[in-house]
């Protein structure tokens, strides 16, 4: 068959050629017994494209059925709960009083919900850029060649395997009762001396020093939590850094780029797609963390069997965070550089 030797033919054409070839030979030869007929041509005839689409559906079918049962149905169910007063009875949930009452109560009557929500949003907005910047910094360092890099990486990824579990909460709690001042405070004492202030005074800047010291000490006092939250993000950025082609680095050093220029003109554009992934991960992670204030409220309500109200709190929270995420993505998407496409 000539077509196969020709590199440009795609599979579809070969398939068609195949068909015609078989038909032609079938015309010339005496009819074959039915059992030995090639299996391909039994059943419904479909084009290659259509058949591929069918196989695609087959591949995702298992997941789709599962997600209807384990994800979509419960999701819709909880949305329905959120519009009702609920009560657990034998065989399921009894729902009465349809309406927006739960949502109204959450925002107008609950004295904890709105403050917790604003505090949470403020925290996320403050922490997310910090986490991203910090993990980019660490990833760049861990990507350089030096002795003991494997050990350093092993230590920096340790939070990935421990931080999601109950272990770290317990250890942190114990450290504060044990007088080890919760780690974070221990480290912040390093910065409690008025070093920044003195430095600024020395440089002849007097007025802004108080504010600046405040900002710096809030940043540094949280360094423990910061480092412990960065594991996955460092991993993501490191994988993006490995994807920077060597030619880009070579060209930059030929042109005499300094490390600073290299970072802004080569590194940042190349890792910008991963920036989005890390951003989504960070926001979602802080959002679903059972330790955050809003989640605590939601879980408390559900422990008191107020499932409808709990669902309403969770849904309102989810929608708000979704909107924030959407806005952040819209803004960031303009600055992302994709090498392909």
């Amino acid at each position: 068959m000539n077509e196969i030797e020709n590199n440009n033919t795609n599979v579809e054409e070969i398939e068609e050629a195949d068909n015609t070839a078989v038909e032609e030979t079938a015309n010339e030869l005496p009819p074959m017994p039915e059992t030995s007929a090639p299996e391909k041509y039994k059943g419904i005839k479909m084009s290659y494209e259509k058949r591929k689409a069918m196989y695609g559906y087959c591949f995702i079918a298992l997941w789709f059925v599962g997600s209807i049962y384990f994800f979509v149905a419960p999701l819709i169910q909880s949305l329905i709960y959120s519009f009702h007063q609920t009560k657990i009875v034998q065989g399921g949930m009894e729902m009465t009083n349809p309406g927006f009452k739960n949502y109204y109560n959450a925002f107008r009557k609950d004295q904890y919900y709105v403050p917790a929500l604003t505090a949470m949003i403020k925290n996320t907005l403050l922490n997310t850029p910090l986490i991203i910047v910090f993990s980019v910094f660490i990833a760049v360092i861990l990507n350089q060649k030096f002795k003991g890099r494997t050990a350093a990486r092993a230590i920096f990824f340790l939070p990935v395997i421990i931080a999601t579990g109950p272990v770290i909460d317990i250890i942190n709690g114990n450290m504060s009762t044990g007088g080890y001042s919760g780690g974070s405070e221990q480290f912040s004492t390093m910065f409690e001396t008025n070093l920044v202030d003195d430095l600024l005074n020395f440089l002849g800047i007097y007025n802004i020093s108080d504010k600046l010291t405040d900002v710096i000490s809030t940043l540094t006092s949280d360094i423990m939590n910061l480092v412990w939250k960065c594991g996955i993000q460092i991993l993501l950025f490191l994988s993006a850094l490995q994807g920077i082609p060597y030619s880009a680095k070579e060209a930059a050093s030929m042109e005499g780029a300094t490390a600073w220029e290299y970072f802004w003109k080569i590194t940042v554009p190349y890792i910008s797609p991963m920036l989005i992934a890390a951003l989504v991960y960070t926001i979602v992670d802080s959002f679903v963390d059972p330790g955050n204030e809003v989640m605590t409220l939601v879980l408390n309500q559900s422990k008191q069997w107020e499932h409808g109200y709990s669902a309403a709190l969770a849904w309102a929270y989810f929608l708000i965070v979704g909107v924030i995420l959407g806005i952040a993505l819209l803004i960031l998407n303009r600055f992302v550089y994709y090498e392909v496409e």
Binding site: A73, V160, T177, S239, A259, M295, A311, F318
Partner: protein, 359 residues
């Protein structure tokens, strides 16, 4: 081909030659060879090359210490006799070491790493079986789904994929209560009641609450795993499939015989992460298990169980409880930590090589 030893020799000679040439240039005056800009650039690079490693070492050491700090605290207290907790002269190093805390805590948590006599009563074994079975199922089904998304064109693909993204974003807390009811009155689209003669079937407390979602690619963080697999399979060359097709492979055969062997590292990475997340999970398991024991659950309730079973109503000061709690922490993360030290390279390199790069 030169051997490694020879390569090293060549490298040495090359460096010596460059050094000699630089010395010669310097003797004749660098201005003859370079522009002033180049000279300045080279000098700056040289200074940076000397100073930066010191800074890097300091930063890495400091932050590494911050990360290790809680773990050091855990090691320091887990083997400390409890009366030494209130001794102000001890900060990090205890005066004597004891295994009592560990053995007592292990008894309370029903954990045993040394005696495998009663496998049904051992929390570790129970957790390991739960985790490994669920993770294996989850990895297989998620990879199949991810492959479907990566390599086939069909109508509504984007809508389906939006559902995957939604799975990543929606926190499990929203769906837990309806799920609980689904499990407690288990009907499975009304199939079960047809065969059970009107009896209610509840799968709360059984491992099925973990296995069933995993079989259907809906386990813990399944959305993320589907995403990773999709990215990975998208990165493999299309020619692989075409070649397989020409040789008479159907899509499922292609997947099993061509794609899976190519994705080995990716599989291992996802499997390890899945194990870790299942091991650490206490939200989902605490919702569906009231009697079934997992390590994370036992650890979460350790404070209460200690009061009940070990102290017998006596009051033990809050500082002294620390030694048992920390022993519990050590027992709970020991398997994960051991796994991490041996397979560390797969956590790191696997992710680098897998499709995550293409996000």
């Amino acid at each position: 081909m030169a051997t490694k030893k020879e390569e090293r020799q060549f490298e040495k000679e090359r460096k010596a030659a460059i050094k000699a040439r630089m010395a010669k240039m310097k003797a004749e005056g660098l201005e003859n060879y370079f522009t002033p800009d180049q000279i300045r650039y080279n000098r700056n690079q040289k200074i940076l090359g000397a100073v930066w490693p010191i800074f890097r070492g300091l930063i890495l050491f400091g932050l590494g210490f911050v990360i290790m700090y809680p773990l050091l605290f855990m090691l320091s207290t887990a083997f400390r006799p409890n009366d030494q907790m209130t001794d102000p002269s001890i900060v990090w190093l205890p005066k004597s070491l004891t295994m009592d805390n560990i053995t007592q805590t292990a008894q309370v948590m029903k954990v045993s790493y040394w005696d495998w006599g009663k496998p049904l009563d051992n929390t570790v074994l129970n957790t390991i079986v739960l985790n490994v079975v669920a993770s294996v199922l989850q990895v297989i089904t998620c990879s199949i789904t991810g492959y479907g998304f990566a390599r086939f064109k069909f109508k509504g693909k984007n809508a389906f994929f939006a559902l995957v993204l939604l799975m990543i974003i929606v926190p499990p807390q929203i769906t837990t209560i309806p799920l609980y009811l689904q499990y407690a009155y288990f009907k499975l689209f009304g199939i079960i009641p047809l065969y059970s003669n009107g009896e209610q079937l509840s799968i709360i407390n059984s491992g099925l609450t973990m296995y069933l979602p995993a079989i259907f690619a809906n386990g813990i963080k399944a959305g993320l795993f589907i995403y990773i697999f999709r990215q990975f399979f998208r990165g493999l060359p299309k020619e692989l499939e075409d070649a397989a097709y020409l040789d008479g492979c159907g899509p499922f055969e292609t997947y099993v015989k061509i794609m899976v062997p190519n994705a080995k590292t990716s599989f291992l990475t996802v499997f390890l992460f899945s194990i870790v997340w299942y091991w650490n999970d206490f939200y989902v398991s605490s919702s569906f298990f009231t009697e079934n024991r997992t390590m994370a659950l036992m650890l979460k309730n350790l404070d209460a169980t200690l009061q009940q079973q070990l102290f017998d109503g006596q009051t033990v000061s809050i500082r002294q409880i620390i030694v048992w709690l920390e022993s519990g922490c050590l027992l709970a993360i020991l398997p994960i930590l051991v796994m991490y030290t041996f397979l560390q390279k797969y956590f790191v390199e696997g992710v680098e090589r897998s499709g995550l790069t293409g996000m």
